[in-house]
């Protein structure tokens, strides 16, 4: 084989192997992660996930619950907690104006307003899904068992998006059956504040 051809084949092989290795490393770094399209309004905000900076557009994120914050000079910071799963192909952050420059930007074009509303709708939809994800127990409530006897319902905790459980219309054994029923459905009541409105406590530990 001609010396020039050999050198050409060798260089080609090295470049090819380099590309293959790069591709494999990129693929491996994405193992177990989910492609999520991150969008902000206005464009170009800085987004952090669990305190570390992440880019915009398609990013590969480990599944699970993450705390995000999007910020841009002249705009308010949008903090959101999103649970990333296969059902979260896109997440959005919408910042409010916090300076005359930002207000000017908003007034510059009606398409900005449309984009903002689009992303706000997506964010609200995600918040709803997030609520149901964080409080999956609401999918099986309210529930009553006259034989128990018990009724289980839920209420909303003040100041956060969590629910608490209300076990009522019950007796001492019914209350234990209600707690067991929740476990049988796959929801550990230990993760929720549980109230028993029919129960009159005989003893209390001072003020906590």
């Amino acid at each position: 084989m001609d010396r020039r051809v050999r050198i050409f084949v060798l260089i080609f092989a090295i470049i090819f192997v380099g590309f293959v290795i790069f591709g494999i490393v990129v693929l491996i770094s994405r193992i177990g992660k989910i492609a999520v399209d991150i969008q902000t309004f206005p464009e170009g905000a800085v987004v952090t996930m669990d305190g570390k900076s992440v880019g915009l557009g398609t990013q590969y994120i480990s599944p699970g619950t993450h705390s995000f914050a999007a910020s841009k000079t002249g705009w308010t910071t949008d903090k959101q907690t999103y649970t990333i799963s296969k059902n979260t192909p896109k997440i959005a952050f919408v910042l409010d104006t916090d300076s005359p420059e930002a207000t000017d930007y908003m007034e510059r074009s009606p398409t900005f307003q449309v984009k903002r509303e689009e992303l706000s709708a997506l964010r609200a939809d995600l918040a709803g899904k997030n609520f149901r994800k964080q409080n999956e127990v609401v999918n099986v409530l309210p529930y009553s068992d006259v034989a128990g006897p018990y009724s289980i319902d839920y209420g909303f905790e003040e100041g956060n998006s969590r629910v608490y459980l209300i076990i009522s219309d019950s007796t001492p054994s019914g209350r234990q059956k209600a707690l067991q029923w929740l476990k049988d459905q796959g929801y550990d009541p230990i993760n929720y504040r549980v109230t028993f409105p029919d129960y009159s406590p005989l003893v209390r530990l001072g003020e906590r």
Binding site: A13, F16, V17, V20, I21, I24, V25, I28, S29, I31, G32, K33, S62, E157, R162, Y164, T171, P172, R175, L179, P189, I190, N191, Y192, R193, V194, F196, D198, Y199, S200, P201, L202, V203, R204, L205, G206, R208
Partner: protein, 198 residues
């Protein structure tokens, strides 16, 4: 032709080595009072043998494993599930063994009962101690109290948790039908679980 085949073999070996190295990560364990550890894949239950030394292993990235450990004398055996991409090192801290906790309870029970009756005088008037136990390093106490009177709509058994802080026992929960981690965020979940299971 031979050279081309040799080149292809080298390329395949290099790619294989790259895939192997980049798909794995070194997982290290911080161990205290542990005799031995064993790692299994959580999904398949397959035992892992890729130990680099006594306290680290070369595991597939982003995969869930279970590490089971055997404690030295006086310490319990246990296990912990971890993801190979979690922050390292993975701390393995075995609690005291059942026998050691029982002997500590025997020594401390009067002090604990006195502290509870001092803080909650009505508890012992209406309820009697049914079950109790020490947990973790003998610094958590859980107990179940049964109602002494006849059956009524509020005659539930009650659970209580106490903690030893600077040598003194103090109840850290109200007597409750069911203890939850939202109302008691400072009590470890496994302590609440044990109290609820009494």
């Amino acid at each position: 032709m031979k050279r081309v085949i040799a080149l292809l073999v080298i390329i395949i070996l290099v790619i294989g080595a790259v895939v192997f190295v980049f798909s794995r990560t070194i997982v290290s364990f911080e161990q205290k009072n542990i005799k031995s550890i064993e790692i299994t894949e959580l999904d398949s239950g397959k035992k892992v043998s890729s130990f680099l030394n006594d306290s680290s292993a070369f595991l597939v990235k982003n995969t869930k494993y279970k590490v089971s450990y055997v404690g030295i004398d006086g310490y319990a055996n246990g296990s912990r599930v971890f993801n190979s991409s979690d922050e390292m090192p993975i701390k393995l801290v075995p609690y005291f063994s059942k026998e050691k906790l029982l002997s500590l309870l025997a020594a401390d029970s009067n002090t604990i009962h006195n502290s509870i009756s001092r803080t909650l005088p009505d508890l012992l008037t209406n309820f009697s101690l049914a079950k109790e136990g020490l947990l973790q390093f003998g610094d958590w106490y859980v107990a179940l109290y049964r109602y002494k009177g006849g059956y009524n709509l509020s005659s539930d058994s009650l659970r209580i948790v106490a903690k030893k802080v600077e040598g003194k026992w103090k109840p850290v929960s109200s007597p409750e039908i069911f203890l939850n981690s939202v109302s008691y965020p400072n009590i470890p979940k496994d302590v609440l679980e044990k109290a609820n299971a009494l």
